[in-house]
Amino acid sequence: MKLSELKVGQRAKVVRVKSNPELSRKLRAMGLIKGEVITVEKVAPLGDPIEIRVKGTKLSLRKKEAENVEVEVI
């Protein structure tokens, strides 16, 4: 499942980050690494971007970017 498909409130574990090396390095630096548990906190009023909580940080990313993160709902 993709991170972009999660609903608000859902918790999931990161399985893999797959995109161009630049973006994946950025996402990893922000804490999206394999095995990390994240929560989808909010969706913006117009449906995009989304806000997730990862490693105690609130992170906002567009759905297009969230598509690159494969997750597993827990």
Partner: protein, 703 residues
């Protein structure tokens, strides 16, 4: 020993700037990094007889650059090799912050960690075994509260008194260490060995590019080997190992509070990011910023204007009455007028910088970006650029400075090019004049249509610019929503005073010089009728070019040039050019210098009072009030224009080259190239749009 070069490095929003502020105070200088529009803050201070050069590097999450800002930080660390790195971390978010730290420790540069927002860390119930933490990371760490100046002394003491050791880099799993050893021989000379080896394993393109063909070949082989060994890319393995190391350190040193409390940030975000309330609260906040900025500064601007023109100009005139008339005019109208124009912007920018700094430092600006992102993406801009655009309706000048809040250089430039299409308050008198003559019945609608045309043009130009000039993928929008924090007045003040100083120095001089040049255009040869001045002659020569826009005489063309002093000057200029300008108000009452001075002081007090009343007296803003006057100019233009050509001329004035001060602001922020680009854009676009209006109007039978 010479100057000690101290670089402040850390994630965004951890209080790096506040920390430098606490050390350097007013000695802080703000400029741009060479060649880019990224803010550079630096200061030289003396501590215990030692000179320290402090530099605030742009906030980064890692040392693999994603944006220009991140590249600056990395290049500085690699090429300038500071003597000491102060790694500022947010203590309440150590895990994520230490990710950058692991990379800094590999650089082989003496490093100190500043554990910032220590007060919040404590009040949230965290505790840290500092000795163990220092031991495991191999560096000294100092708890700080930058906003209160706590820990600053201790930090400075460490930097100046002790020999800071080169940190020992983190060790990773045996498997990874095997691969690090394997790529080490291929690290180019002069690069830090361990750091570069790890960057190679992270497949950092910028490093891979620097390798010789032979090394690159060998490295590729190693990377393939690593990938088949771990079953994932080196990029991913290294990130996991770094976080693994951090978790190991924190497990032994950090005690987290049991049961997370709902923080203030959570409560505020429930409102500001709410699906229903998010946009309305954003609009409300922006409206308030707009209203308070413009209404609040209004009375003070009027006072400044009066002080320069009625007081300074008057008494300077009196003092130099013996000089030739043209020289008097040059000094009073050209130079004092120019300086006056610059100074009248001080109250406005003071207010704007205050509110922008408040939005920024409090953490709300990131929320605005989140809420507005989807909408602004239509024209290829991030959500935050909505703010400068809106400010532009009040005045383009602060709007240009507001582009500073955008993250990427591309976005800043694109926004700055579009801001001049926002119809500012100074354009209202032009609309007032023309609508009163030609559109008496529909004055409000026609004025409103100007605003709409401005927005539509900005959106269209935005899309076109993006397509042809600002190509490449729009930057990814991976942004942290930092915790809300109350900014201190001292921080706000430093931010404001530093920026105002830069405006006066850099933009101020350019603006004054240009004003003097414009004075010459309008007044040389001195005393000649308007038609025979340089301006009149040039305008007559190029007037035929403007026929397609419906403007058939030279006067309106000529008026556009003084209109660059300030848009509302078009009205007065038209009057003068048509030879119907009001007579100078001669025969002023005689008053003494001290009387005048007293009046100015009293006037200032009144202005401050008026400013408060304007800000808090009512909810409505006075920015859009149209005052129309009937005068001799009205008669002159009623003969020279038709309703259609009047409308076309209004559009031309709306989109035409912004005023000198706006251009000065663009020059200060972005340099010559973008200023020229802006001038080009704001001549071609208005010409095309006005022509479309006029020709289109004629085609459907309007006159």
């Amino acid at each position: 020993m010479g100057k000690l070069k101290v670089a402040f490095v850390g994630n965004p929003n951890v209080g790096k700037t506040a920390l430098i502020n606490a050390i350097a105070g007013t000695k802080l200088k703000v400029g741009n990094w060479p060649g880019v529009t990224v803010e550079k803050k630096e200061a030289t201070v003396k501590v215990d007889g030692k000179e320290l050069y402090l530099v605030d590097l742009p906030g980064v999450y890692s040392l693999s650059p994603f944006t220009i800002e991140e590249r600056i930080t990395r290049d500085f660390l690699l090429k300038e090799r500071p003597d000491v790195i102060v790694n500022v971390v947010d203590s309440t978010n150590l895990e994520r912050n230490l990710y950058l730290t692991t990379q800094i420790l590999e650089l082989g540069i003496p490093t100190v960690i500043a554990l910032n927002v220590w007060d919040e860390f404590r009040s949230l119930g965290y505790s840290l075994n500092l000795d163990k933490f220092e031991e495991l990371l191999g560096v000294k760490a100092v708890p700080t509260v930058a906003t209160k100046g706590e820990g600053v002394k201790e930090l400075l003491r460490l930097i100046t008194e002790e020999e800071i050791p080169i940190p020992k880099p983190p060790t990773y799993s045996q498997d990874l260490e095997y691969f690090i050893k394997k790529v080490e021989p291929y690290v180019p000379k002069g690069m830090p060995k361990r750091w570069t080896s790890l960057k190679i394993l992270e497949e950092d393109e910028l490093i891979l590019k620097e390798l010789s063909d032979k090394s690159a070949q060998a490295v590729k082989g190693i990377l393939r080997e690593l990938e088949s060994f771990f079953g994932e890319s080196g990029n991913s393995v290294v990130a996991e190992e770094r976080y693994g190391f951090i978790r190991g350190v924190l497990k032994q040193t950090l005690r987290e509070p049991v049961g997370k409390k709902r923080t203030l940030t959570d409560v505020l975000d429930a409102i500001f990011l709410n699906r229903l309330l998010g946009i309305p609260t954003f609009l409300l906040i922006i409206y308030l910023v707009f209203k308070l900025t413009f209404d609040g500064s209004g009375p003070l601007i009027d006072w400044t204007d009066g002080f320069i023109n009625d007081f300074v100009a008057k008494w300077v005139s009196a003092a130099i009455s013996g000089l030739p008339e043209w020289l008097q005019s040059l000094i009073v109208d050209g130079i004092i007028g120019g300086v006056g124009t610059v100074l009248t912007f001080v109250p406005l920018l003071l207010f704007l910088y205050f509110f922008l700094a408040l939005l920024e430092e409090s953490g709300y600006m990131a929320r605005a970006a989140f809420v507005m992102d989807r909408l602004m993406r239509v024209i290829g801009l991030p959500g935050k650029s909505f703010v400068p655009m809106i400010i532009g309706f009040g005045c383009n000048v602060p709007a240009i400075y507001a582009t500073r809040t955008l993250e990427s250089e591309r976005d800043r430039k694109l926004t700055a090019l579009l801001v001049p299409f926002m119809s500012c308050g100074a354009r209202l008198p032009i609309y007032a004049l023309f609508t009163a003559v030609f559109f008496k019945e529909h004055q409000a609608e026609v004025v409103f249509s100007m605003y709409v045309i401005g927005i539509v043009v900005a959106a269209t130009v935005g899309v076109l610019l993006k397509k042809f000039f600002f190509k490449g993928s729009a930057e990814a929008f991976v942004m942290e929503l930092p915790p809300y924090r109350i900014p201190t007045l001292k921080m706000l003040w430093t931010s404001i005073s530093v920026k105002l100083g830069a405006f006066l120095k850099k933009a101020g001089t350019v603006i004054t010089a240009t004003m003097v040049l414009l004075w010459a255009l309008i007044n040389v040869p001195y005393g000649a009728p308007p038609k025979d001045t340089i301006l009149g002659k040039t305008a007559s020569a190029i007037a035929p070019l403007f026929y397609p826009t419906g403007i058939k005489s030279w006067e309106p063309v000529a008026a556009l040039i003084p209109g660059t002093i300030a848009k509302e000057v078009v009205v007065g200029a038209l009057g003068q050019l048509y030879g119907v300008g009001e007579d100078e108000e001669e025969g002023e009452e005689k008053s003494s210098f001290t009387q005048d001075l007293k009046e100015q002081v009293v006037g200032f007090g009144q202005a401050v009072k008026d400013s408060f009343v304007a800000m808090f007296g009512s909810f409505k803003t006075g920015v859009f009030e149209v005052e129309s006057e009937e005068g001799p100019v009205s008669k002159a233009i009623s003969k020279a224009f038709t309703p259609l050509s009047a409308f076309s001329y209004m559009v031309l004035c709306l989109l035409w080259i912004p005023c000198i001060v706006t251009l000065g602001a663009i020059y200060q922020e972005f340099g010559t190239r973008l200023t020229l680009a802006s001038i080009t854009l704001t001549t071609i676009v208005p010409y095309v749009v006005s022509t479309l209006v006029y020709v289109g109007g004629r085609l459907i039978g309007i006159n």
